[in-house]
Subunit: 605 residues, 2 copies
């Protein structure tokens, strides 16, 4: 039995080809590189969203950044301890959706799936906008075109993921290390300096229009919780670690917690000491970067690394959502379409759906990170809560040593994450959280409606029951629609003769002269098959054939219509061919129950 | 042998159902109603374009409007006499394209077709913009949204024509009569008044920036020739008249010429007497309307009638271009697609192409009538010239009584229209005529390239030659891809047994447990058909089947793949079904030469 609720858990991390896996299993450090990107990259927008919330009470209120950050780091500590237990209990990892479905029942499964879908989409959107913010901090000229930058980034990610990417921990190692070094460097160098090395951005004034009360602190806290997204990834990927898995994964989770905590606290200290406030088009992180490193090349390099890591964090969703959608499709909760992989091992409909939804979200918010943040964290907290809750149930059921103690830890975790979720919802409802409140139940409804349909279809098809024996062989009639006597006709009649007991060719011509010419050519060819000529008073080619086929089908024989298709060698000529055959096939399939067969004839031109 | 070169000639005026035609044949007056809309409606923009051309030399130059109009009316008289002869020689009417192809050779045919295509598109665009101008004259608030108004009108026309319209002369009678009464009323009432009853629009100043020389007069003449578009329609619809056809058609042509001439001369007189100059967002015709009727309800009513008639004129292109495109498709000069009529007697691809091109043109010119006019008349003059030229050749060939005299008339007509065309081209080249100069040869190139392709295909298919006899009956193998044992499997195996000498079912499952379950269910069902289970290490469902089929095809047998499709009762559920089957069919058709058969299974849900 597996468990572990999270977003980053469904990526096809286990390599596709069997036998390739073992040597690629992760050490603790590699695990940190592969699985922490999403969590660590959230320091690019988490602290900033605290600052932006508090500044509503004027720049003086920004001193509260530090205590708010401490509260968030406390929640982080609870989550890390909690996930340490999740890892121990569920060494097989597993997806939030699969696990919630199994342990908490179908409704929880649907809730987990819906919140995961919302979250994957938001991860893409927020990571892209935050990446664009970082880029615009380095190159202010781009500040006006953030939406464009985001959409270009999204198009790039979509294209790469439609081709299929072989993701590997080693590729992620370098940017992750660079990012950790850069951020911890900012904290260390910044705290060593007596004053900021440089300031960037424009001075803005912030007249207080709210007082620094409990409500504002809760708002700041809930905004800052966006920094916690992604800490669940490790618990869901335990099988990708090298033995001893559990210990390595727990160690990685601890490292992630420690790193993220240090970064958050360090950045908060700097924000307090330097009285950092929002400044024009420059992010808080970029201000701290300039304060530590000055505005020379390290400033540009750091912003670019931050942008790169955020782009990679967005890419994790492209690994995750299509796989989740394929699992939902396999469970009959999404159209089976999403379970299709054609020629590449890529769920292209899932990738395209994710891209489309993210693009809509980016366009609707104008690629503004701080309009996306309130939507972002709610789905994550649904996942956190379901995860802890499942563990409490697990302890209560299994009753191991000190189970009450363990249940208390996870229960506290669940309580705190529920609380954080409720705070987030209530303080941010009008600021955008309503979108999530609307989207999650709608998605659940969609899943269950789709499931109901497939169940009804399965019932009607008698899935799981043994059907009656197939009919005895009935006589078959193959109808071949043709326009003229040619090599194509020969090809089609040959194929039809081998498939049908009887073959008949039909031709529709409105023009008596052409009918006559065809009849004469047919008689000269004399292929030993009957030719039926049909009049078409309305000049329609399709309807007369459909009528003919419907009349033929009344005889009780198995009818097949064999439509020869000319296949040009070059794709660009396809528009010039076959449209009539395809139209006929479409109409026949919609209106009759006969077998519709397409026979290709390949051209050299 | 038929002849007659024009744009309005290809509409399916002869009713579609046989036997319905006779009683609907037109009297002279009905013919005027049905066929003169396009010509008469051009008084809405013709005189105005003369005024707009002349005003470049200041308002003083506007006195030249009257002589320029007289020159245009002279050309109109020549055309009317000329078309009277066309009607006598070609009582069967006929399309410009078909006739030019027959009498003047293939290149002239291509030229006629290309200029007709351009002209149909421009008729739609100009009629819509002029209609929007008329509407904006009545309701100035709409002046800013002309493009939107045009696009809404275009969408409306497209929707109506996609459904198919049964156009009738009787329906057109009322708006035509209203229009004629309104315009002649403006002339009569306007000339009776000593001064204009009211003025509308804003005073504008026109500093002269050009002198009133020959060049400007030629420019004004060529712009004003846009008023002549449409006079060829009657000559091309002679068969739709009641007997005696020729006399009735000639009488109608004369009436059209007289009416149009009176309108043009009358409006020009008013323009000269009232010193009408362009005024803001109000058309010249609207100014004359206000001058005659005041600004009460007759002003609004007249503008609305003008708008309605222009909309109906745009609609004539929707009758004409799709039919022309279907003729071109039948001659292998456009993709056969354009010759397809599915369930309604509507060439939907032609309708959509026309809508798309007109929309592009409207968007590119910002729905500005006076940017479209220079493009408009050139195509028409190509048609006029080809028509007269064809008649000259006809006289020279047939040598009837007084053939030299007749040839002289048509030769003069051809010379004058050529002259007008050349003037138009040279004076308006940079103002937009270059678009037509580019589009016409490009279209001719497109037609001939498409023709070359179809010729090569016909060559390869041995069209027109008798092929060898069909192959003797080869053994057939029907492969049925299935996922599980169900009623669908029973349905598919039954159909396959009646089509193939041998039937084999293939199933792809990545999961050994599901493979095992399927094998067991199959053995219990025991349909007497072999089941081949295929492994899919990459979890792809399509590629393993394609590989299997390709291996089977090496045996030399006729292979058919029978793909059962679940057909939901409601269209909205289609997204939930069959995607896998369609994907498999697409890949099989692209990669193999086997027969691909689709077998529907209709659901009750």
């Amino acid at each position: 039995m597996v468990f572990g609720l999270a977003r980053r858990d469904l990526r096809p991390r286990v390599p596709l080809r069997p036998g390739e896996g073992q040597k690629h299993h992760l050490t603790s450090l590699e695990g940190l590189a592969a699985l922490s990107l999403d969590a660590l990259s959230s320091v690019a927008y988490g602290p900033e969203s605290i600052v932006l919330a508090l500044v509503a009470a004027g720049t003086g209120a920004l001193t509260a950044t530090f205590p708010v950050t401490l509260a968030i780091v406390f929640l982080l500590a609870v989550l890390v301890v909690s996930y340490g237990q999740v890892i121990a209990v569920h060494p097989d990892g597993g997806g939030a959706y699969a696990v919630a479905k199994k342990d908490l029942g179908p409704t929880a499964g649907l809730l987990a799936a819906a919140s995961l879908v919302v979250d994957y989409v938001l991860t893409v959107a927020v990571s892209l906008t935050a990446g664009a913010d970082a880029l615009a901090s380095a190159f202010p000229a781009l500040a006006r075109d953030k939406l464009l930058v985001c959409l270009i980034g999204l198009a790039l990610l979509t294209a790469v993921n439609l081709r299929g990417v072989a993701e590997s921990a080693r590729v992620l190692m370098l940017p992750t290390v660079l990012f950790i070094v850069a951020i911890l460097g900012i904290v260390a160098v910044g705290l060593l300096r007596a004053h900021p090395a440089a300031t960037v951005g424009k001075d803005l004034s912030f007249p207080p229009h709210e007082s620094l009360g409990v409500l504002l602190l809760l708002k700041a806290f809930s905004s800052g919780c966006s920094a916690l997204t992604g800490v669940e990834a490790i618990a869901n990927a335990v099988p990708t670690f090298r033995a001893p898995r559990v210990e390595r994964a727990q160690r990685t989770e601890l490292m992630l917690g420690a790193l993220l905590g240090m970064m958050l606290v360090g950045l908060a200290l700097l924000i307090r000491r330097d009285h950092v406030a929002p400044r024009g088009d420059v992010t808080v992180l970029a201000q701290l970067t300039a304060g530590a490193y000055g505005t020379g090349w390290p400033y540009y390099a750091t912003n670019l690394v931050v942008m790169l890591v955020l782009g990679l964090a967005a890419n994790t969703s492209f690994g995750g959502l299509p796989v989740l959608m394929s699992l939902l499709a396999r469970d009959n909760r999404l159209p089976h379409l999403f379970g299709l992989r054609a020629e590449r091992p890529v769920y292209r409909y899932g990738v395209l759906t994710l891209a489309l939804l993210a693009a809509l979200l980016l366009a609707a918010t104008g690629a503004d990170t701080h309009r996306l943040i309130p939507l972002f964290a709610i789905g994550v907290f649904i996942g956190f809560t379901l995860s802890q809750l499942g563990l409490v149930l697990h302890w209560a059921r299994e009753k191991p040593d000190r189970w009450r103690h363990r249940a208390l830890i996870n229960g506290t975790g669940a309580l705190l994450t529920t609380l954080a979720g409720v705070i987030l919802l209530t303080t941010k409802f009008l600021a955008g959280a309503w979108v999530v409140v609307l989207a999650v139940p709608l998605l659940m409804l969609l899943f269950s409606r789709v499931e109901r349909y497939y169940t009804a279809v399965g019932e009607e098809l008698g899935l799981g029951r043994i059907p009656g024996p197939p009919d005895r062989r009935t006589a078959s009639l193959v109808i071949v629609p043709l326009g003229e006597v040619s090599k194509l006709a020969r090809h089609a009649v040959s194929a039809a003769l081998s498939l049908g007991d009887e073959v008949v060719v039909v031709a529709v011509h409105a023009d008596p002269a052409r009918q006559q010419a065809l009849r004469e050519a047919w008689d000269r060819w004399n292929p030993g098959v009957r030719l039926d000529l049909i009049d078409s008073p309305h000049r329609s080619l399709v309807q007369p054939i459909v009528d003919y086929v419907q009349r033929a089908a009344e005889g009780g024989r198995q009818i097949a219509v064999l439509i020869p298709e000319v296949e040009p060698r070059h794709r660009r000529y396809e528009i010039l061919q076959n449209q009539r055959g395809l139209l006929l096939a479409t109409v026949l399939r919609a209106r009759t129950d006969v077998v519709v067969c397409m026979l290709p004839y390949r051209l050299g031109v």
